[in-house]
């Protein structure tokens, strides 16, 4: 591991010197899932683009709890750093037909198979393999098959970033229009005083939504926020000249996207990012 010492060093590495091994990655996401038009987003709410078709292809519906990696189907591609070097992101870019905020994040842990009709604690478990301290990690519910039309509350029992177990998040809505459809991402809110998540023990619904459906839970760590202000325009982050500066991309990171919709247009997305080793 070595620091990027200065601008000269960064330019050198970005053009292949000093084992910089630059990776300039581009990706495309179609507004479809498995060849069918994706669910329209709701203004101001989140959608998961994990399963969106594209190049690379969309991800599979999660089942048992795992820590996905850059080798998992649906992960945006990058190659782990060689030797004892680390990977650093210098640029991120996203252009879309849909206005809103694209959040590039490392998908640290995911699972599916939870039911919208079970009112006892549904086990999550699993172990983080990246950002294991939990600091800054977020969690969200991801709808894989529509749950029911009854509005209920979901909470999670989790371990915070100080290692304290048995914390219970404040309740968030799941079920009913806007909170039940495929690809919805429902962010879970932490208990007072907490700033991260090491593990999730279980998810509990306050009542049945009326339909089992299929939903899961994801733990992630944000990397870049890319705001697209106009349809047909781009949002970008230059981590060299702007803040925050040059985030580290941990080995095996499973890069994926969330979308905070500025309207109801299903996003079609062309994006890219640049990574160097140091």
């Amino acid at each position: 591991m070595a620091a990027i010492t200065d601008l000269s060093d960064l330019i050198n590495r970005s053009t292949g010197g000093a084992n910089g091994t630059p990776q300039n990655v581009f990706y495309y996401k179609a507004p479809r899932v498995a060849g069918v038009a994706a669910t329209a987003p709701i203004t101001g709410r989140m959608a998961s683009l994990w399963r969106y078709d594209g190049n690379p292809s969309g991800g599979a519906t999660p089942t048992t709890v795992v820590a996905p990696t850059n080798a998992t189907q649906g992960a945006l591609p990058f190659v782990n750093a060689g030797g004892s070097r680390e990977s650093w992101m210098t640029q991120a870019f996203a252009a879309s037909n849909a206005t809103g905020m694209f959040i590039l994040y490392d998908r640290l842990l995911h699972m599916g198979g939870l039911s919208g009709t079970v009112t006892t604690a549904q086990t999550v478990g699993g172990t983080l393999t990246r950002n294991t301290s939990g600091s800054g990690n977020f969690a969200f519910l991801e709808i894989n098959t529509a749950v029911g039309t009854t509005s209920v509350t979901a909470t999670m029992n989790y371990t915070d970033d100080l290692g304290n177990t048995g914390n219970v998040s404040t309740g968030v809505q799941i079920g009913a229009t806007g909170f039940r459809e495929v690809s919805r991402a429902i962010m879970l809110t932490l208990a007072a005083g907490d700033t991260g998540i090491q593990a999730i023990d279980s998810i509990t619904l306050s009542a049945t939504t009326g339909t089992a459906g299929d939903f899961g839970v994801v733990i992630g760590k944000p990397i870049a926020y890319l705001s697209v202000g106009q349809s047909g325009a781009a949002g970008w982050r230059d981590f060299v000249t702007g803040l925050p500066s040059i985030p580290k991309i941990e080995a095996n990171s499973c890069l994926s996207l969330l979308f905070v919709a500025g309207g109801t247009t299903v996003p079609e997305l062309f994006g890219g990012y640049s990574i160097v080793e140091a």
Binding site: I11, P56, S57, G232, A233
Partner: protein, 267 residues
């Protein structure tokens, strides 16, 4: 070899090896759609048989291969009537002559020519460029391709084809890959589910994006873009020898006419 220092980088901006300019003719564009500007480049001719276009192909941005070392793109200046996003890609393979009337697998002028650059196919995207307008009936389209692992018989996910927004000349439809794939080496056939009502002319292109830039002003003086002033992705890209560089635009809509200048340095 690398550009080793900031001073070398600045020097390459001031005394670049080659300053290449290219203009693209006028057309009307709809907002937030992808356009293949190869079609409005000077002397453009619609492709027919499958070939590997190069920097010498009409429509490509012209440059001379380095005598040694490699070429890097260190800066770009844009003048355009349509603000938005411009993706500069290497057009690796293309063909034409496909019909919007024929259902089932079409193999006219296919398979695509074997890649001569980015030959593994990793990160290579599949596009369908419409050279002459197809019909007004909405249908869907897929292609059969060989992925970047060399596995043949892969099928893209279907996308909309035909009808307003997906039929006009210059449109490029980017195709999503089959589950688990991350690139394409070749395309063997194209299949539309139903006739669009007009034959038109469309073709397959295989392309590898090199850099993408955000243009938020029609004043070229405000559109000097480089590695150290943001608004782009692609780092300081290496330009492969013979690369057929062309722009794809997704913009805010309206009249689209543009000119680009590229600062290339040999390192």
């Amino acid at each position: 070899m690398a550009i080793a220092t900031l001073a070398s980088f600045k020097n390459s901006l001031i005394r670049q090896r080659e300053f290449v300019a290219q203009t693209y003719g006028s057309q009307t564009s709809a907002a937030a759609r992808f356009y293949d500007l190869f079609l409005v480049a000077p002397n453009f001719v619609s492709p027919s048989t499958a070939i590997n276009p190069t920097s010498a192909t009409d429509g490509a941005i012209k440059f001379t291969n380095p005598s040694s070392g490699q070429l890097s793109l260190v800066g770009l200046r844009a003048s355009t009537t349509a603000c938005g996003v411009y993706i500069f890609a290497d057009r690796l393979s293309h063909q034409g002559g496909l019909s919007g009337l024929v259902t089932g697998a079409q193999t006219t002028n296919l398979p695509t020519a074997s890649l001569t650059r980015f030959t593994s196919g990793e990160g290579v995207m599949i596009g369908l460029t419409i050279y002459a307008i197809v019909g007004s009936v909405a249908t869907t389209i897929t292609v059969s391709y060989t992925n970047s692992a060399g596995v043949a018989g892969r099928t893209t996910q279907s996308v909309a084809f035909g009808a307003t927004g997906n039929r006009e000349a210059s449109r490029i439809l980017i195709l999503p890959l089959q589950d688990g794939d991350t690139g394409a080496r070749s395309v063997e056939s194209v299949s539309i589910v139903a006739s669009t009502g007009t034959a038109g002319n469309f073709g397959v292109i295989l392309f590898k994006p090199l850099i993408a830039v955000a243009i938020d002003s029609t004043d070229s003086e405000n559109n000097a873009i480089g590695f150290l002033n943001g608004a782009s992705a692609g780092g300081i890209p290496t330009i492969p020898n013979d690369a057929c560089i062309f722009p794809i635009s997704m913009n805010l809509g309206g009249s689209l006419q543009s000119a680009f200048s590229f600062q290339l340095t040999e390192n």
